[in-house]
Point group: C2
């Protein structure tokens, strides 16, 4: 299980401020901190960026790539920003991402072919609603793969995101288990070892304190690893959660164990 | 997932000493501490007890039952000690346990029928070797169920212990994953919701420090819960591990979640 930092996001005040000032320093300090913690890649979550799609995304990509060679996930729902991102890319990139939403099928999915990049496909309805049972998730996964194929994107380029729900949602805990089931069975259903990605931070939305949030994240990340998740998107600066994810990744995958492997 | 204290064991010097002195106090203090932590049951691990099978087991059962009404697992490989234990039982008991070893089939398994008690069945070869792949474990499980049925013990009385290996064993990490697979698929294979039990403490044998031991136990207990384990045998006084087990049990089973449920 590879760990991807979700720390670089426009919702953080210092990142929003850096964008407003076009000041790369806070962005670069964060990226360096994430790389120091051993992240495999960095999710560059710029948000939609509105009419500053081009200048905003270019600012982020330049700032980040000046200090790291790590793979980057370009994380925006705005096709214009995404286009600016893939154009500005020098590092390996993953487009994050597309769904059955028509605008994304038309404007974002084709970028994966044009720029030969992997692309995250979200298990969401065309109107971005979250499906409520595992069967619906499987149907959407099949549809996403069909759409990718029709756009000339190889199925191996698609990384499925089954959309981890907040536990506090009505039915959230049941959906969280369905997500595990989807991750476990999707490779059989699709007939190839499809890669999967999950965002851990959603799970603990509205937790009353850090300790309880960490407790559910630690347990669930182990369950995700055992289910076969390939990419865990998480707060790479949370050392307790990262240790749990790393240990779980070892238990889920390695064929030889020694205590020296445990971080 | 119900938690069972594995704390009361003859390998602890103070418990061995209590037996030698026939002094119930240290045993009772430990039992009370376990009950205070919310254990569902107590594993009374007396070891074989040799020629003191009768007096030794009776001492333990009397001492424990004087201070708790919790279910007790009578944990000995010695049929004479086991017989003394079931005779001395007033609390609900679980016989822990039998295997394909002829002596246990002949002398321990029949006690489950005679005393109408649940009984743990270990997935071990007749000579007590640990099987090395999942297919062997399934075959042994089928054989255990046949032997139980032949002895007049209902299949629902048998609780399967797939025998969690030390990770540090050669191949231990692969076997640990096979154990998860067995727990997940055994109900389908046997055609009824067979109950399973696993001892967590084995996993971290020879850990170089407590922190790394806890890290692997926390991850693995979450994987066990997600696989559907019914009974986790663990150090109930290890509050970090117990929290991980409780949270994992919630995530694995509950249909409604609120943050107030998280310990």
């Amino acid at each position: 299980m590879k760990l991807i930092a979700d720390n670089l996001r426009i919702t953080r005040p210092e990142i929003r401020h850096a964008l407003q000032q076009l000041d790369p320093e806070p962005v670069q300090a964060l990226v360096k901190a994430c790389e120091a913690r051993g992240t495999w890649a960095i999710d560059v979550n710029t948000g939609p960026l509105g009419k500053f799609a081009d200048i905003g995304m270019t600012f982020f990509m330049e700032a980040v790539q000046a200090v790291t060679d790590l793979p980057l996930l370009i994380d925006t729902a705005n096709p214009d920003a995404m286009t600016a991102g893939v154009k500005a890319a020098r590092n390996r990139i993953i487009i994050n991402g597309f769904s059955l939403e028509p605008r994304k099928l038309e404007k974002i999915l084709p970028l994966a072919r044009k720029y030969d990049a992997d692309i995250v496909g979200f298990l969401l309805y065309p109107d971005s609603r979250v499906p409520t049972d595992a069967a619906q998730r499987f149907e959407i996964a099949l549809e996403l793969m069909e759409k990718a194929e029709a756009a000339g994107v190889a199925k191996e380029q698609v990384i499925i995101d089954p959309v981890i729900p907040p536990l506090a949602w009505e039915n959230g805990i049941v959906q969280a288990r369905q997500v595990l089931e989807v991750i476990r069975t999707l490779p059989d259903l699709l007939g190839f070892p499809v890669k999967t990605i999950g965002g851990i931070s959603n799970l603990g939305t509205n937790a009353p304190d850090k300790a309880r949030r960490l407790a559910v994240e630690q347990s669930y990340v182990a369950m995700l690893a055992a289910a076969g998740l390939h990419f865990a998107l998480l707060d790479i600066l949370d050392s307790d959660l990262v240790q749990a994810a790393q240990v779980s990744g070892i238990l889920a995958k390695e064929d030889i164990f020694s205590w020296g492997m445990v971080p």
